[in-house]
């Protein structure tokens, strides 16, 4: 199966990540709908997964041996679509149909429509259970693929997440990895206190997530989710435990919501938003992009 024949350098990875961030903000502006902050914060991890770590087959998206990825924070769909397009699952031009009528690229990921989308999401809190089911199925069938689930830090408010956190270790799902994108903001949340990083309170600022996951019986690792080396080490670590540790792995990925563009970075106000022409120019410049806006 996989995947890339050549191994990408960090520089090449960075350039894909920057292009992806640009396409997110540009596509959302053109479609006049969609989320910005969450896709931007998650992008380093998403690209690392799809361009380096996941065992995938873009030409055969339903290959039964493929790694599974579930974007539990489904509102960040445009981030996933951008990576899937750049990875060759469908033409990059198709991004322009995002959120248009009759499109394969829905506001939230739809496994029936989009090549490469392994599970439908959009109602928060449900992805980790779906992933646990896939991981359990793999064990039962003796398949050696990995299931990756990305969650938001605000999403951790949903009770269903914790049903899976409690039960996954019981099933010995060392082929399941939860990546929590701790970007420090949700949509609205609470007023910021003195210890908060941004303009609203951190959804899980009062929680020792590492201790929580470890306490529930998970392997746990915290990283800077904008550092390619740390991301790569963590993903490798999770993979190396498959079939060995008997425990699922949680990666606490510390990031900044809206990362990569000055005006979207570290503010709840860009949870979603439509960039103006001038903002698009700024974003393009800051992300080092030459290409024109699709508008």
């Amino acid at each position: 199966m996989n995947t890339k024949t050549e191994v990408l350098t960090d520089l090449e990875m960075s350039s894909i990540i920057q292009e992806a961030r640009w396409r997110v903000i540009d596509t959302v502006a053109a479609s006049k709908a969609g989320h910005i902050g969450g896709p931007m914060s998650a992008m380093d991890v998403l690209v690392s997964l799809y361009f380096k770590h996941m065992r995938i087959d873009p030409n055969n998206p339903r290959n039964p041996e493929r790694d599974r990825f579930i974007l539990s924070k489904g509102h960040c769909a445009i981030g996933l679509y951008t990576v899937l397009a750049l990875r060759g699952y469908f033409p990059v031009e198709e991004l322009a149909t995002f959120d248009h009528g009759n499109s394969r690229l829905q506001g939230h990921p739809d496994m029936l429509l989009t090549p490469g989308v392994d599970a439908s999401t959009g109602s928060l809190g449900q992805g980790l259970s779906s992933g646990a089911g896939m991981a359990l199925g793999a064990k039962k069938l003796g398949k050696d693929f990995h299931t990756w689930v990305m969650l938001g830090d605000g999403e951790l408010g949903e009770g269903m997440v914790w049903e899976t956190v409690l039960s996954a270790p019981r099933f010995g799902l060392d082929n399941l990895t939860a990546i929590v994108d701790v970007n420090g903001l949700q949509q609205y949340g609470w007023p910021a206190g003195p210890r908060d990083r941004f303009d609203r309170s951190e959804p899980v600022g009062h929680v020792d997530l590492e201790a929580v996951f470890t306490g529930f019986g998970w392997n746990t690792i915290s990283i800077n989710g904008h550092d390619l080396k740390e991301i790569s080490d963590a993903l490798t670590f999770a993979q190396s435990f498959r079939g060995v540790s008997g425990k699922p792995t949680a990666i606490i990925s510390n990031t900044t919501k809206g990362f990569g563009v000055s005006f979207t970075s570290g503010t709840y106000k860009w949870h979603n938003g439509i960039a103006t022409e001038e903002q698009l120019r700024t974003a393009r410049e800051e992300l080092g992009q030459k290409m024109e806006s699709v508008k």
């Binding site: 959120d99 939230h108 959009g122 109602s123 408010g157 009770g159 949700q186 609205y188």
Partner: protein, 313 residues
């Protein structure tokens, strides 16, 4: 003439009412900037409780607060109450008659391109099936405001729809909200159209255009689907040559279902056709596209009515 979005009316009216009514609280599921509960969060921070992205927890806490005399309003997309937190609504609100107010934001099909995961097109069916539940779908900003005020003084569970985007006004300033009553908006003889929620505004536009072509319809708006004065609605439907129901909802179990249940049991069952989402999910797209594709735009409603009238002759 037009007007505010219902969600904004909700935020403003609640903020106003909470000046005088100490029982009011708003529990938010991290969507206040969408539902416009942020208006009250800013004007009365002590009345606003950010529970987090945890709708089931919201319903449980609202029930608990209600036992102490509070009358909590819940803020999230309607779909996450009618579906995600349904068991909690069922046991803790409907079965206890708790005065919890479910403000169903972004109701129906039009929710800013979020698509089928967020479109609540089965809420009437679900909530109508809940004993003790009051189910309201205002037509416009004016009726929304009047209904909110009525709800504030009502001691029981309420489910009330609020549309995301403004619609053309149906009612003027001095409209008086009459609970349980159908509202006759216009008279006509060719058929009777029954609608609810903001779809009533689009139906009114459709009927305006049909009148230009010489087709006259009686138009009945049903702002409160439950409890409803059945006898009065039946009376209004009597001897209608044809009944067309129109709703931003599935054709199963909502207003169309309600009218069929009623008329089927009456002395003179009438022919009813139901307009709404057929038995399928919708998609992400701009409002105009969705209304057109799923047959709910004024033009599509008018077309349907003409075609139905023609097929009868």
């Amino acid at each position: 003439m037009s007007t505010k979005a219902q969600r904004q009316v909700w935020g403003e009216t609640l903020s106003e009412l909470s000046e005088l009514d100490e029982r009011i609280l708003v529990l938010d599921g991290d969507l206040a900037t969408s539902t416009r509960a942020d208006i009250i969060a800013e004007s009365h921070p002590e009345k606003f409780i950010q529970v987090g992205i945890a709708e089931q927890n919201i319903v449980g806490m609202a029930f608990g607060l209600s036992t102490l005399g509070y009358r909590p309003w819940l803020s999230s997309f309607g779909v996450f109450f009618t579906n995600r937190a349904l068991d909690q609504v069922r046991m803790l609100v409907s079965q206890t008659k708790a005065p919890v107010r479910i403000a169903a934001a972004y109701s129906g099909l039009l929710n800013g391109s979020s698509g089928k995961t967020h479109q609540d097109i089965e809420d009437f069916a679900i909530m109508r099936a809940m004993p003790n539940m009051t189910v309201i779908a205002p037509a416009d900003a004016t009726e929304a405001r009047a209904a909110i005020k009525w709800v504030a003084d009502y001691d029981g569970p309420v489910y009330i729809r609020f549309a995301r985007d403004a619609v053309q006004d149906v009612f003027d300033e001095d409209y008086v909200f009459a609970p349980h009553k159908p509202v006759v908006l216009r008279h006509g003889t060719d058929l009777t159209v029954v609608s609810t929620g903001v779809q009533t505004s689009r139906v009114a536009q459709a009927l305006d255009s049909l009148e230009q072509e010489g087709i006259t319809a009686k138009h009945i708006h049903v702002p409160m689907l439950k409890p409803l004065d059945d006898q009065e609605l039946l009376q209004e439907l009597r001897s209608a040559p044809l009944i067309v129901t129109v709703e931003e909802h599935s054709v199963l179990g909502g207003l169309g279902g309600l009218v069929c249940e009623l008329t089927a049991g009456s002395e003179e069952p009438a022919r009813v056709t139901r307009l709404g989402l057929a038995d399928h999910w919708s998609e992400s797209a701009p409002n105009e596209f969705l209304l057109d594709k799923y047959g709910l735009s004024p033009a599509k409603v008018a077309e349907h009515i003409k075609a139905t009238l023609k097929s009868r002759k």
